[in-house]
């Protein structure tokens, strides 16, 4: 099914390449979370339009939940801004990754920035071919943007009538999404060791630091790992290919 997409891309519509399919399935799962965001935001004291503005302008789920979480628990709005911003710091790391990978220019750079989120970064970096990396990023980023915003409106309007997405196992779907994107990279011992180390660091960091920061720590561990393994490899024969 996926064998011929590369050369077929020029002749046929590239609509349903593996990266596109991934992006669309992720859009569906992640967007449904937008319903619970909309419902919770209104419940935490934001107006309908403030809720809509957060999804349209902030557009980074973790930060949005952090923002309304602080307000709902009676915190000051300034604390809500600080919390949301801290949770969003990982997006800077993603953006550097994506700049190296896709190097969007002009207005595309400013659009890419807005749709730089966990999912679009993950789908883009999980692809091998550059064309697929581009498609993966844009389909996931724009797909989730549209889905998340529509779902937010829906949730904000229906409020209390919405059931928890957990009952549908959507949080389990998100776990599966990221594992499926990581899986193809675990082909040798080194990436396995790195992945296990990072998962451990993340789990240990979660109770100790603010939300979102464990991901930044994970990136720091990986930078250290990259520098050390590069140094070691230079003294051996070139093995070709990064992790």
């Amino acid at each position: 099914m996926s064998k011929t997409y590369d050369d077929a891309g020029s002749r046929r519509s590239p609509k349903f390449t593996p990266a596109t399919k991934m992006g669309l399935s992720i859009t569906l799962a992640v967007s449904l979370f937008g319903i619970s965001f909309g419902a919770l935001a209104v419940a935490s004291g934001l107006s309908f339009w403030q809720t809509v503005a957060l999804s349209a302008l902030m557009f980074t789920g973790g930060s949005q939940f952090a923002f309304i979480g602080v307000l709902a628990s009676g915190g000051a709005p300034a604390a809500a801004v600080a919390g949301a911003t801290l949770v969003g710091v990982r997006n800077s790391v993603y953006a550097v990754q994506l700049k190296a990978l896709l190097n969007p220019r002009g207005w595309k750079k400013y659009t890419a920035a807005q749709v730089t989120i966990d999912e679009s970064m993950a789908v883009a970096t999980a692809q091998e071919a550059p064309a697929e990396q581009h498609r993966g990023f844009w389909v996931t980023g724009i797909g989730v943007y549209i889905g998340w915003n529509l779902a937010t409106i829906f949730g904000a309007l229906l409020g209390d009538y919405i059931t928890e997405p957990e009952a549908l196992g959507l949080d389990g779907a998100v776990v599966a999404v990221f594992l499926a994107l990581l899986w193809p990279r675990l082909r040798s011992r080194e990436p396995w060791a790195l992945a296990v180390l990072v998962a451990l660091v993340t789990v240990l960091a979660v109770p100790a630091v603010p939300p979102g920061i464990p991901i930044v720590l994970a990136a720091a561990v990986a930078v250290g790992w990259g520098v050390i393994s590069q140094g070691r490899e230079r003294s051996r024969s070139p093995e070709g290919g990064a992790v």
Partner: protein, 103 residues
């Protein structure tokens, strides 16, 4: 300040943190070490997202139905299932375990 001001301020900060990564000079990214690190960072970010989404609960670690989702997804991947099947396996495992009474 009105709540609107804070909302817009938070949105501006979120956009700035995203944009800043794209404004890193391209020259910095040409070095071979950066290619190497970009590979390790990708694995690390994905592994961290798996761990976060499996274990992070209200202000700490929690062990719940999402562990079942992780296991189901891993089995599906070992059986070389297509992406969408893996995702559905994860959702079905979490939903099923919750029906059985797990948190």
């Amino acid at each position: 300040m009105s709540l609107w001001t804070w909302v817009l301020l938070a949105c501006a900060a979120a956009y700035a943190t995203k944009l800043i990564g794209y404004l890193v000079p391209g020259r910095w990214l040409d070095h071979p070490l950066v290619t190497r690190i970009s590979g390790t960072v990708t694995v690390a970010l994905l592994a961290a997202l798996v761990a976060m989404n499996t274990f992070s609960g209200d202000g700490g670690i929690s062990f719940d139905a999402r562990l079942g989702a992780l296991a189901a997804a891993a089995i599906a991947l070992m059986l070389r299932a297509p992406f969408i099947v893996v995702v559905i396996a994860g959702a079905a495992a979490a939903a099923g375990l919750r029906l059985l009474g797990l948190p």
